[in-house]
Amino acid sequence: MTLRKYLVLAGVTLCASIGDSLLSRGMKQVGSISLNHLSHVILAVLNPSVALGILLLLGFFASYMTALSWADLTYVLPATSLGYVLLTLIAKFYLHEAVTTSRWIGVLLISAGVGFVTQGPALTHHPAKAQPHKTEYEPASVRNEP
């Protein structure tokens, strides 16, 4: 894993959580949309929070696809779940919401999960195609790729 790849993973995490919060804030400003006035959905895009939220979610999709091009799905998903932790910290220290003990335990579990997965290699090496007699598992030394 290089610094550039960690930055892409950070991009996935940040874009998803900030994008979701902005969409949520924007849609609350727009108000509830009834099925009789579906055109209001299109007008909702004019709300700055909604527009920025959509941009960030596009950024999320691009960085998620980039991460999947060089890392396993079972690496990317847990590694980017730090976004839940980030949202809780935003809720506590920025929005001054009350965060219960069970939520803090949830934050701890997710952080531990992220710690576990980032200890290991990011990509399964498939030497079966090139070297059929070698072990299928990626040796720890392959982790620090060029």
């Binding site: 060089w70 069970s102 576990f116």
Partner: protein, 126 residues
């Protein structure tokens, strides 16, 4: 009865988003390292390779299905059940599906990570 509807929506969301994640992951492995490809052949090449990949298009279709299942589910059940239950189950089903369909090496670290994150997501919603 309402519970049964909510759980069938959760099952649909989990199935569709797992399918989508597996297809998108397979598509991007076929495209190859996006950074290197961009460096060598430019952004246009990256976009055309991604957008012409059948797995990518099917993956987006599956993700769209998951999104609409979520919308339907939310109209039948509580957001406090459907959103965390589907998000947390997806971490575990993705680990199983990645092992079976993508032949990823899901070692004890990755199982632990999937289960811990799944439990954490449930607790965050509690």
């Amino acid at each position: 009865m309402k519970q049964a509807y909510a759980w069938s929506a959760i099952a649909a969301i989990v199935l569709a988003s797992t399918t989508g994640d597996v297809l998108l992951s397979r598509a991007m492995k076929q495209v190859g390292d996006v950074g290197a490809l961009w460096w060598q052949s430019g952004l246009w090449m990256v976009l055309s390779r991604v957008l012409r990949n059948p797995n990518f298009l099917l993956g987006v279709l599956a993700m769209t299905t998951a999104f609409y299942s979520l919308l339907f589910g939310l109209s039948w059940g509580d957001v406090s059940l459907i959103a965390p239950a589907s998000a947390s189950l997806t971490f575990v089903t993705n680990a199983v599906a990645a092992k079976i369909f993508l032949h990823e090496r899901v070692d004890h670290r990755r199982w632990m990570a999937a289960v811990l994150v799944a439990c954490g997501v449930v607790l965050l919603a509690a």
